[in-house]
Amino acid sequence: MRNTDEHALQAEFDRRVAAEEKIEPTDWMPDDYRKNLIRQMSQHAHSEIIGMQPEGNWITRAPSLRRKAILLAKVQDEGGHGLYLYSATETLGITRSEMIEALQTRKAKYASIFNYPTLTWADIGAVGWLVDGAAIVNQIALQRTSYGPYARAMIRICKEESFHQRQGYELMLEMAKGSPQQKQMAQDALNRFWWPSLMMFGPHDGDSAHSSKSMQWKIKRESNDTLRQRFIDQTVPQIEVLGLEMPDPEIKWNETRGHYDSGEINWDEFYKVINGNGPCNHQRIKHHVKAHQDGEWVREAVRAYRAKQARKKDERAA
């Protein structure tokens, strides 16, 4: 009996996914679909939050008031994205504190790019331009994802991301056209952030652990390599405008493919960073844990205050 029900539900779910209908929180969904979404969406939310650290690293040192205002607003946007994505993920039956717990115990991942340090001011430009640029390519594809709350979150978030990318590029342009020292900082930032940005799209299609299921469920709409190529194709001309050297000597237009060819990613580094051994993995999690622990007394005070108020209300009522 239960089996027949389950079969019917599964069939209806499959039909809706195939028909490009959105799955909503109260709809029946396969357990694995739910788990897969929780993994991907919470990872996305954590990335927004952890990403506040490398960029926040330069707020107090921004070299002009205008840039400081832009950076502050941008980092605040990212926090807002995190908040929004946590709420969207909660529709799948997990709480924000459970997600944070998973992040702090390193069970949940976040975008590996944020395990690289922002060493100079030009890195702030590179992060906006390349990292947000890569994120946009990913997120535009995700606007068509099959889970309704996630798709809507992506539509909303993408609007802000394009501003993030533009400010980053504008910052790079200012430096690339500035003094020799500034130009050198810009080149260095491009060189260091180029490869990690390409890694943001994940392993090659054949090596991606979660890809095939995700594609089948239309959680994921385009393959890692397709999205990566799109990012390369849109970014190479931007590097030319900056007048900087290509960060990869193998970048070359391929007339037959209609795409840029490029060199191979260092996958050893990719897995090393994913597995916790990037320059900042420990720092990022420690920072998050410390802020959380430092704030425990505040959250405790709020709980205590609310409990007292509730008690007072009860007494008045009685």
């Binding site: 939050i49 107090t60 040192r61 205002a69 502050l72 980092v75 430096m175 500035g178």
Partner: protein, 279 residues
């Protein structure tokens, strides 16, 4: 009160005064006063903004992280409006950035309460509450400035500060009446901050002159209201010591705590390391 006056007299020898007065022979006395006023207002705002921005990715709730950054952004915007006006008044190659990034501790004239470190959440929020109450009243008064541009900045600021106050005030009550620890932290913050509150209501001679000219707003006029409002909130939580008499001052004369130098060395580092570049 006596302590402060002594401190100011010792520190403000004629030589020291020259450093911090920022007098410019090319400007008339009146516009010189105005310039100092604008820079001082900008200094208050930029320094507080810097402190608040230090909370980014460090707050007890994600929501609070965003809220504190938001207040930091408001104060940054306020600082820029005052500095931009000051830069236009002075002319030449002065800009908002040259004002913010190329002056030293002794030339910064913010009131000390703005520069104190963020310490913990109770301290940051209590300072913010004190300042929110102050700025709602002060900026309301400054809206009447005969200088249209100042009045406009004040108009924008008063709206922001009203909103900030709506957020900071309930926090004080929650922390004061939450747990033993949160109450202790509020009381500790109060002990320290109380010493720096009085300076908010003090005016150097040039500011008094601007009050007479109808440009600045008399800080003394809102002291009582401030006392009343703050004491009402605190006494509702059974906290009754608060005294807004001047205890520690000197900010307007460029006499700061040791904290400011470190703040500036961080804030100004790139502009100092690579002078004259555009970013």
């Amino acid at each position: 009160m006596i302590k402060t006056i002594v401190m100011q007299h010792i520190m403000c020898c004629p030589k020291a005064l020259k450093i911090c007065k920022g007098d410019d022979k090319t400007m008339s006395n009146k516009s010189n006063n105005l310039y100092r006023f604008l820079v001082a207002q900008g200094d208050d705002a930029i320094i507080l903004s810097h402190r608040l921005s230090e909370w980014c990715s460090n707050a007890p709730y994600l929501e609070e992280d965003l809220a504190l950054t938001n207040v930091a952004l408001d104060y940054l915007g306020r600082a820029r409006l005052f500095y931009q006006y000051a830069a236009e008044l002075k002319g030449g190659d002065e800009t908002e950035d040259s004002i913010a990034y190329t002056r030293d501790e002794r030339q910064y004239t913010n009131l000390l309460i703005h520069e104190l470190p963020i310490n913990d959440f109770a301290y940051t929020l209590l300072r913010q509450y004190f300042l929110d109450v102050f700025y709602v009243e002060y900026m309301t008064g400054l809206c009447q400035s005969s200088d249209q541009r100042i009045a406009a900045i004040a108009g924008k600021s008063v709206k922001e500060s009203r909103y900030h106050l709506k957020r900071s005030q309930p926090w004080i009550t929650q922390l004061a009446e939450g747990t033993e620890e949160s109450r202790r932290r509020i009381l500790d913050a109060l002990t320290e901050l109380e010493s720096f509150v009085g300076e908010l209501f003090e005016m150097p001679e040039w500011e008094q002159q601007l009050v007479t000219d109808g440009i600045a707003f008399d800080r003394q006029l809102i002291r009582e209201k401030w006392d009343h409002q703050v004491q009402a909130l605190l006494s509702a939580s059974d906290i009754n010591i608060l005294d807004s008499q001047l205890k520690i001052g000197g900010g307007r004369e460029g006499i700061h705590t040791e904290f400011l130098g470190h703040l500036l060395s961080e804030m100004q580092y790139l502009q100092r390391a690579y002078p004259g570049l555009k970013w």
